[in-house]
């Protein structure tokens, strides 16, 4: 079973200084997101039932959620010109 992203790590390496690590615990947001999504999910399901699944809204919502789950492992590193600073974003 795939789990949603648990942490977002931002690493900033200023020139000639130690790397700063910022750990954002996305895991703490899970209960809140779950709460916020429950009502819309049932409303969407109801809308889908009323329209006889013509717009496939429930499937769309599930697919978007699946896409969010697969974000784990994404890593983006940017080193802009003119500054020796390097910024890395990791989703784990």
């Amino acid at each position: 079973m795939r789990l949603p992203p648990t942490f977002i790590v931002v690493k900033v390496t200023p020139p000639r200084q130690k790397t700063i690590h910022v750990w954002l615990p996305v895991v703490l947001l899970w209960p809140l997101v779950l709460l916020l999504l429950t009502l819309p999910f049932f409303l969407i399901l109801l809308a889908d039932l009323l329209t006889l699944f013509r717009f496939r809204l429930t499937r769309l919502m599930v697919a978007v959620l699946a896409l969010t789950l697969e974000l784990r492992g994404t890593c983006v590193t940017v080193s802009p010109a003119g500054s020796a600073r390097k910024t890395t974003l990791i989703i784990i």
Partner: protein
């Protein structure tokens, strides 16, 4: 100035790290990097890498899980028929005979498997280098 000298010059100027230069040299010489999986067709790649190394030192390094691309491809099945027909017509106008309505899960898997053998290396006139490849 040939590619090899240019890369070595970039290392000397501190524009790229030794590790990045090694990968670039591998790309230029067509050699496989040591950390890449063998191209046996049995090992599926896990990540898609996009590396941009510019002459002005604007460097971007992106690692995207291929499962994300797989999940994104699944979304195509949810595109409404009218929109899908419009996309197909536009693709045909551009000379791409690719029908998205016939895209099945097996096709997506084949496409991702084929990505393990794909590598795109672009070196522009001003020395910017873009490398796209898949690896485990």
């Amino acid at each position: 100035m040939d590619e090899r000298t240019r890369i070595l010059q970039m290392v000397a100027n501190g524009k790229v790290t030794v590790e990045e230069a090694e990968k670039l040299l591998d790309a230029v010489t067509g050699k496989e990097p040591g950390d890449r999986p063998p191209k046996t067709g049995t090992i599926l790649p896990d990540y898609l890498f996009v590396k941009v190394i510019s002459e002005k030192n604007d460097n971007v390094d992106i690692k995207v899980p291929l499962s994300l691309i797989r999940a994104g491809m699944r979304l195509t099945s949810l595109i409404p028929n009218d929109a899908m027909n419009e996309i197909n017509r536009s693709l045909n106008e551009q000379g791409i005979s690719f029908d998205l309505t016939n895209l099945r899960q097996e096709d997506v898997e084949t496409l991702i498997r084929s990505l393990s053998e794909m590598e795109v290396n672009v070196t522009s006139k001003n020395g910017d280098t873009i490398r796209v490849y898949c690896s485990a």
